[in-house]
Amino acid sequence: MKNPVFKREINTMFRSFRTFIAIGAYGLGMLGITALILFDVILDNSRFNGFDPKVTIELFCCMLALQTMVVFLAVPAFSASAISGERERQTFDLMLLTKMSTSDIIWGKLLSSLLFVFIMITAALPVYSVVFYYGGVSIPDLILVYFFDLTYAASIGSISIFFSSLFKRTVISTVLSYLTLVFYPIIITVLTLLIYAGDYNITDSSWLFKIIMSVNPIAACLSIIAYFSGTDIMMFLFGRGNAENGIKIWQMAIFFNIIISCFFAKLSASIIDPIGKNKYR
């Protein structure tokens, strides 16, 4: 990686005590929750019904949900200060003076946030080994989950960096990032419910339905959980319907996340460019 911002961020990231606390806390959290589920579900099942491999899929889905939740919480905390933090530290102008383009700066910041997320979720990899021990989930499944979460982290990170570019204060950019990321899926969910109220028989794999669902991170997460459970999101949620023929909602969500990331990164780069063509004169 040739990006100077990325190199510097990585260099300093591992000097910060905060990084190790975050990674350690996440690993321990995953371990604790997995242990609880293991004792509660797997041991219960094996005592009374013999061992059912489906239980490991449930465990895997719980871990996926937890991991996605952690990504949701951690990424804005790191990314929302990407540009505003540089402004507050009065190092931002010095960076703009260099030969780096504003896109280099934004991508360096975004990729370093992603690397942090990657390292954090990779630190919990030994916990996933429990799932492999009991079977039912393969390594490609795990890679898929990682890829899904990384694209989700990229979209969240780019939105947070966008707010960080727009506002001078980190507090404001952090609050707005979280508010957007919390209310956006809620609004989309309400809209979906309004459009498809009472229609549980969506069997035509409508593209409109898929697009609306794929831009909703909650639906995308449920879709991937449904996929691992060997079912469909409608079936998973309501016990009826079939909306995921052909391309799955979570697959479209990955594509959507990449588009969102590129769009907001480009927008942020344009915002921070002090002499850009579209700048107010």
């Binding site: 102008d93 010095l94 260099t98 002090p274 700048k279 004169r281």
Partner: protein, 315 residues
């Protein structure tokens, strides 16, 4: 050569820079003087590519950098008035980051960084964390950073602000050293006596407009209508006072202990007559001479004149 033509920068209804015209010769040390809010920093930021001009042009060797901003990153080094440093980096890492950001090849960086740190007297701090440096050292580190792309033009916005006298003297020595490297240096400062010592030319700016520009001596001559004369004596000061009052060329007489200062608008012949008469009347003159112009006084006078003119125009 840097040529600024009709430069305008507006923020809403306020004209921070209002039709600035200025020429700075290659290799000169140019002092930018003006009160707070005069438009110095805005002009410097436009020159450094950190702000877009609303109107006008800045030519560096006949190329308009407002239209070709990529040239700025090649030719200009800028040290802002307020700047931060990455506290969790070592001095060498800090410099390496900026060398990397200017895409300087890795194999050239070590020597370059060592040389620059030597120039700013920070070689012994190469492995220290930036966090541990004093304010003066951080200022010098920032100066080294601004030199990393070997710019032809160095823009320093208040380089000595917030420094103690010792650190200011160090900074002044470094700037003298840089002067030898044939770089065009543009400095803004409130510490006018320092500019007086370092700059070959100054430009006085107020309300975004250039009030006067040229060599300090020329500005002094243009700005001060009268000569300031001092006489130091041991006794018979009252006699000297009477002599001075006889001359219509003498006014604004100020008495001190063993010293009289006055403004004078005559020639050297009349001055010699005053001195001869004083000696004849038994005034024990210790020294008699013309005071050098005070840049600070001149600056205040010029900016006040400009304000008065503006008020008159508005009325």
């Amino acid at each position: 050569m840097i040529k600024i033509e009709n430069l305008v920068k507006t923020f809403g209804k306020i004209n921070a820079v209002d039709g600035l015209n200025l020429t700075i010769e290659k290799g000169s040390v140019f002092g930018f003087v003006g009160p707070n809010g005069a438009g110095k920093t805005t002009t410097m930021k436009i020159m450094a590519g950190l702000m877009r001009a609303s109107l006008g042009s800045i030519f560096i060797d006949d190329v308009d950098i407002v239209k070709n901003p990529s040239i700025i990153k090649e030719k200009i080094g800028y040290m802002p008035d307020f700047f931060g440093v990455y506290d969790n980096l070592k001095v060498s890492e800090y410099m390496d980051f900026y060398a990397d950001a200017y895409y300087i090849p890795t194999n050239e960086r070590k020597d370059l960084i060592n040389n620059l740190l030597e120039t700013v007297n920070l070689s012994q701090k190469i492995d220290s964390y930036v966090d541990s440096l004093s304010r003066g050292m951080k200022q010098r580190l920032c100066l080294a950073r601004s030199l990393i792309n070997d710019p032809d033009i160095l823009i320093l916005d208040e380089p000595a602000s917030g420094l103690d006298p010792m650190a200011r003297a160090e900074m002044k020595d470094i700037l003298k050293q840089l002067k030898q490297l044939d770089k065009t240096i543009i400095i803004s400062s409130h510490i006018l006596p320092e500019l007086h010592q370092m700059c070959s030319e100054i430009g006085i700016i107020d309300h975004g407009r250039l009030i006067d520009c040229g060599s300090i001596n020329d500005i002094m001559i243009r700005g001060s209508k009268y000569r300031n004369i001092y006489v130091k004596y041991l006794n018979n000061g009252e006699k000297l006072l009477l002599i001075l009052k006889e001359y219509k060329e003498v006014f604004e007489i100020k008495e001190g202990i063993g010293e009289i200062n006055f403004s004078f608008n005559g020639d050297d012949l009349i001055l010699s007559q005053i001195l001869t008469q004083a000696v004849k009347k038994d005034v024990s003159v210790v020294s008699f001479g013309e005071k050098e112009g005070d840049l600070e006084d001149l600056f205040i006078k010029l900016t006040q004149d400009a304000q008065t003119e503006e008020t008159e125009v508005k009325q």
